[in-house]
């Protein structure tokens, strides 16, 4: 009996080690993507990639997916829309990746949509806005919390109306993302009978905003909805501080990209006070889920060496969540079959470090989780203050609300 037991144990042991060896010998699962690592979008692309890399290391430490290690194949798309179609063709035809992640932002993502749809690949989107609205790819899943197209403008204008706002000014960058926001804002304002008293799109590379702010101020709006890109956001706030926007403005901000990035926030300091702006994650009560705290501890350590945003609230945890989405689907379907993965993601809610994510038919969030938060009590030159709660109080969504709006805007700035 003893001999039999010994033989059985030995055979089992050899078998297990052979299976284990076979697992280790299996090629890794390749996830391909381009990322803006240089160019104007790199300030977002780099932290986003760091979030994905932290997920890769975590999943590999747990044995990978389907018993195979996960490997990332990443190319720099230089923030350019003209680079991405060729890079994704290369990822599919030469690197033969198993899964695809989209690059950060709308502009580099939009041109790859037809290719990805034609090849029948699942694409985990990365903070692009409305890129699938015309393509209708049924395997697109955006990691961003935007939700329905008009949710962003609705939330902001709601806050403005509750503060007594009756007229709207739109100041937007002449680029796809900002123009999409402006379009929905016009529609929402129209439905609510809010007259638009100023509506201007400024061109990229605008150096000086004081003239535009003067013209905006002359229109005397109550609500100022700004959709701007990082270099412009800082320029606009400086001009607002120097010129002023008028005492009647009750709400200012909405869609200013850049005011979510640590170095920009630290430099802008007290100029941020009063601005109500969109965000995706903030260190406020109710924003912590399973793994969130551990993620930021790891991110803080690695951000210094990677020379990226030391806070990383805006994009990095969603990069990690992209990995969690795909891992959940691969594990549940036990395969890399694109249709099966897409079906799973359409039908199931996935728990991530940024909260539970469920998709609607168009691959966007079923429900918006985009925050509108007001900067309050910000002092100059102190990046650590943003790690504490109470500095960006959440006004929307209601279930995450962590403070009250200070209005009018000029009063909130003091």
């Amino acid at each position: 009996m003893k001999r039999r037991t010994f033989l059985g144990a030995a055979i089992t042991g050899i078998g297990v080690s052979l299976i284990g060896k076979a697992g280790a010998d299996q090629p890794p699962i390749k996830i391909g993507m381009s990322m803006p690592l240089t160019g104007g979008l790199a300030g977002g692309g780099k932290p986003s990639l760091l979030g994905i890399e932290i997920w890769r290391d975590d999943i590999n430490a747990k044995g990978g997916m389907l018993g195979r290690k996960v490997e990332l194949v990443v190319y720099d798309d230089k923030s350019s829309a003209s680079e991405t179609p060729a890079l994704y063709s290369k990822l599919l035809d030469i690197d033969k990746v198993d899964l695809l992640f989209a690059p950060y932002a709308t502009v580099p993502t939009a041109p790859i949509m037809p290719l990805v749809k034609q090849r029948g690949m699942v694409l985990i989107g990365n903070f692009s806005f409305q890129v699938n609205s015309k393509i209708h790819h049924d395997m697109w899943f955006n990691n961003a919390p935007w939700g329905p197209a008009d949710a962003w403008a609705s939330a902001f204008l709601d806050i403005g109306q509750k503060a007594g706002g009756k007229t709207v000014a739109l100041l937007t960058a002449d680029q796809e993302f900002a123009q999409n926001l402006a379009k929905t804002a016009r529609e929402v304002a129209g439905k609510r009978n809010l007259p638009i008293v100023f509506d201007q799109a400024y061109p990229p590379n605008t150096v000086e905003f004081s003239s535009i702010i003067r013209a905006l101020s002359a229109a005397k709006p109550d609500i100022v909805y700004v959709a701007s890109y990082p270099p412009d956001s800082a320029g606009i706030l400086r001009a607002v501080n120097e010129i002023g926007v008028g005492d009647n403005v009750k709400l200012f901000g909405g869609g200013m990209v850049g005011l979510q990035f640590g170095p920009v926030m630290a430099k802008m300091g007290s100029l941020l006070n009063g601005v109500v702006n969109f965000n995706t994650w903030l260190p406020e009560p109710g924003m912590y889920y399973d793994g969130t705290k551990a993620f930021f501890e790891e991110y803080s350590k690695r951000a210094v060496a990677a020379k990226v945003d030391p806070l990383g609230f805006y994009l990095a945890p969603f990069g990690y969540a992209s990995g969690q989405l795909i891992a959940a689907a691969v594990k549940a379907t036990n395969s890399l079959d694109q249709k099966a993965i897409a079906k799973y993601l359409h039908e199931n809610e996935v728990k991530t470090i940024v909260g539970p994510i469920a998709f609607s038919a168009d691959g966007e969030r079923k429900e918006t989780a985009t925050l509108q938060a007001q900067f309050q009590g910000i002092v100059d030159n102190n990046i650590d203050q943003f790690k504490k709660p109470g500095k960006q109080v959440i006004l929307f969504p209601e279930k995450l609300k962590s403070g009250n709006l200070i209005t009018p805007f000029e009063a909130a700035r003091k």
């Binding site: 240089t38 000086e208 004081s210 003239s211 535009i212 270099p231």
Partner: protein, 292 residues
């Protein structure tokens, strides 16, 4: 809606903005306007200077303008070396040097951009100083103080360079090389050395210009791309090699841009610089103050 107050404010801001454009273009007026060097890396040098100013301001709390002055000698040496490299590898070798020179300077611009990304990262950088973020109230008008600083410094720079080029021996030698290089050679002078010196000066003025750039708005490593069109437009519109013309052309551009931004809609502003350029060249092919 038309308003005289808005128009007046637009003109004042335009003059100040124009002076800033003059400050960032005046080095190019020397290197491209006088020396015929296709210095497409000029805006990249400018951004590099801004980062050096950021380094001194952020790390050592030095005022940005003072930091700009401190890095000027280093930029002068950098300019000397860059021109020597360009001369040895391109200009000396043939008549199509200008075309190949463009590739050389594009390469340098790209290398500078990558080095800035590697050292400083990709995030925007800005500086702090007592005159940033504040405004002066003049006749009921709020004028950004940082633009007034740009106005004063640009005026000073233009005056300094004009005096240097017209009153000093080396300045006149630079103008002579620009007019007839062969004649200078026949006089026993070394035109290459003179051009190298002039290129050094064109690069050195970027110290203060780079400080103004980061004072006026935040910078990132790719900002040079935004300034290529504007700086070349100013220099060509001015009339190649004219320092006073550069200031005048930049002010015209600044006023036109701000009036359009304020009164007619921001979307039209980018077309203004090139529409003005075409208009002026149609009437005066040699530029505003250029010689035939």
């Amino acid at each position: 809606m038309f308003s005289m107050d808005l128009l007046l404010e637009a003109v004042v801001t335009g003059v100040l903005l124009g002076c800033f454009y003059a400050a960032v273009s005046i080095g190019l007026s020397v290197s491209f306007g006088l020396l015929d060097v296709p210095q497409v890396a000029h805006p990249a040098f400018l951004v590099m200077a801004s980062y050096a100013v950021f380094f001194l301001n952020d790390g050592y709390d030095i005022d940005p303008l003072l930091a700009g002055v401190l890095i000027t000698p280093l930029l002068f040496v950098f300019g000397l070396l860059a021109y020597r490299l360009y001369y040895e590898t391109f200009e000396r070798r043939g008549t199509d040097a200008a075309v190949r020179g463009i590739a050389f300077f594009f390469g340098i611009a790209f290398i500078i951009e990558v080095l800035l990304i590697l050292y400083f990262g990709v995030d925007q950088r800005s500086v702090t100083a007592s005159y940033i973020g504040k405004s002066w109230r003049i006749a009921g008008m709020r004028v950004p103080l940082r633009l007034m600083v740009a106005f004063a410094v640009a005026g000073g720079l233009t005056l300094l360079l004009s005096v240097y080029l017209s009153r000093t021996f080396m300045g006149r030698a630079i103008r002579a090389v620009a007019q007839d290089e062969e004649a200078v050679r026949l006089m026993g002078a070394n035109p290459v050395r003179i051009k190298q010196w002039a290129f050094g000066i064109a690069t050195a003025v970027l110290g203060v210009a780079g400080a103004l750039l980061i004072i006026v708005s935040p910078v990132d490593p790719t900002l040079d791309r935004a300034y290529i069109g504007r700086t070349f437009c100013v220099v060509v519109m001015a009339g190649l090699g004219s320092m006073t013309g550069t200031l005048i052309a930049a002010i015209i551009l600044g006023i036109a841009e701000t009036i359009v931004l304020t009164m007619f809609g921001a979307s039209w502003a980018p077309a203004i610089s090139f529409a003005l350029l075409l208009g002026i060249l149609a009437v005066r092919p040699q530029g505003l103050l250029g010689r035939r």
